[in-house]
């Protein structure tokens, strides 16, 4: 038996949005402790790791482990119909369907079919992060849009006290500096200065899916994968996103 109730649709919307940037079918693993999801995009460039403890829900009943695979598009379409203030009830039916009920005065009931899982265990990348930073999510989105005007990749360089994000292409170049003087850069910790380049589409799509989270933690090392992380709601949920660097 699996029944999960959230008092706001906001977090579900964020989850569906974030995973839709990478995969078409999502396998959630429900345990008595909470809901989890870990998946890579088909090209294995990016990975998403969602941890959503039972304490983050209004009601969470799960008597054993379940894996449920949904078409992300199906889930996203239903959740787009929800207002952020709607209460979301999710129930796994015995006929292999997922029942989603949106409540806000009246009640709307959706049933979507689960699909067969092509589930495989994915490890997390082993990376020692020499650079960690925390930025306002709005400025991250702005900077990525700035760089996107010129380039489809972004070089991120960390020195003591500042981050430089830049891009270049045949049409020109762009760079943005955020230093400790900018309130948008909430934290910066540089153990070892470094630089790495990443595909901008992945970063930009992911940063747009952050929902209400107002700051974003970013960790990377020279020529290594980058990790972006934001809290999902205020009760312990968490979304991590890893992205491989570009080939030099």
């Amino acid at each position: 038996m699996l029944e999960v109730v959230s008092d706001s649709a906001e977090e579900w919307k964020t989850v569906a949005q974030a995973i839709s940037t990478l995969i078409e079918e999502a396998t959630f693993v429900a345990t008595p402790e909470g809901l989890n999801l870990r998946a890579m995009d088909p090209s294995h460039i990016a990975l998403i790791d969602l941890r959503w403890p039972n304490t983050a829900f209004d009601k969470y009943s799960c008597d054993q482990n379940y894996t449920l695979t949904v078409r992300v598009d199906d889930l996203l379409k239903v959740l787009k119909r929800a207002d952020s203030k709607d209460r979301v009830e999710l129930k796994l039916n015995e006929d292999n369907t997922l029942e989603l009920t949106l409540r806000n005065g009246y009640e709307r009931n959706f049933t979507i079919h689960l699909v067969e899982a092509q589930y495989s265990q994915t490890p997390l990348p082993k990376v020692t992060f020499n650079i960690t930073a925390r930025l306002k999510s709005t400025i991250v989105r702005q900077i990525l849009e700035d760089i996107k005007t010129i380039s489809d990749h972004v070089a991120i360089k960390a020195e003591q006290g500042k981050l430089t994000l830049s891009g270049k292409s045949e049409s020109g170049k762009v760079s943005v500096v955020v230093s400790k003087d900018n309130p948008e850069l909430e934290e910066l910790n540089v153990k070892d200065p470094g630089e790495a380049t990443y595909s901008i589409d992945y970063l930009s799509n992911f940063s747009k899916s952050m929902g209400a989270a107002d700051s974003l933690a970013l960790s990377f090392s020279s020529k290594m994968p980058i990790k972006l992380e934001f809290p999902l709601g205020k009760k312990g949920g968490n979304v991590q996103f890893y992205l491989a660097p570009r080939v030099d």
Binding site: S43, H44, P125, V127, S169, L243, A244, P245, R246, V247
Partner: protein, 351 residues
Amino acid sequence: MPLIKRRRVSQHVGVDLGPLVKGRHIISLEELNQKVLAIDAYNSLYQFLTIIRGEGGEPLMDSHGNITSHLSGLFYRTVNIMEKGAKPLYIFDGKPPELKEREIVRRSQLKKNAESMMYEAISRGDTEAARRFASMSSRLTESMVSDAKSLLSCMGLPWVQAPSEGEAEAAYLTSKGVAWATVSQDYDSLLFGSPRLVRNLTISGRRKLPRKDVYVNIVPELVILNEVLKEIELTREQLIDVAILLGTDFNREGFKGIGHSRALNFIKKYGRLEGIVELQSELAGLDYQSIRHIFLEPSVTDIDPPVWKATDKDAVVKFLCDEHDFSRERVVSALERISLPSTSQSLEKWF
């Protein structure tokens, strides 16, 4: 029509294992990002020569009368997979095993027949038949092969000269981990021990069904050797015996009256060819030990780690457009697709 001076080169038809291969995985080109693909070059070039033809069945040609269908296929299809970050490694056939000689002579005769049928169809104005016979008469000449190698070098791509069968070398490099998968339309690389085979990669897209005015979508698929063997409950050695019953490139005719299910049942029942009491007299007339040996101990070689270099755009344009009359506009725009800043690495590197 100018006749091209040609020497005989080995040709691929392969073993028809299709009906026995279960559990194909549909894959997207994106999944091949940063993966090395050992591509059977002759198999691909034949596909291009057969498929890439004009309305009347004639191959593409430059203004000097040289056939260019194989170059067109090799260039545009390779660009498609490179654009998704895959690393192609073309493997060319070397000297065919002696047992293949008879088969090569037989095919050469078939092609000659098809060629005269084609001219006959053209003269009576039957374009559908002409097209069919034209594709049956496709021949790969040594100059086509050397053109293909030149093009790959201009594109910055490594290629490998196999000592004998390209398919065997591709399987060997894949089993050694140099490549992630072999790429071919044939299933022979499974018999040669390739752990992974990708089919329909260089011919994906819309394709006309032979003899019908119907088009189908061909999508790339991944076949995993272990899964195939597990599904039919055979070892690779036993699958080779099944293939010998069905007919391989080294005993094309196979065994009379034996199809997929009988072949499979025989090997399941008796374990190996030697045990099949019903076929003792036929088996006595076939050197099946040598055929097994070709699949189990093929002539292969180790290679230096392959290097993928930047595409020499000017050289590609000069070769394709100046020498072989390709459309400059199309070639340049295809080159742009692979000259984007290099692609992303795979996270697997950090697992």
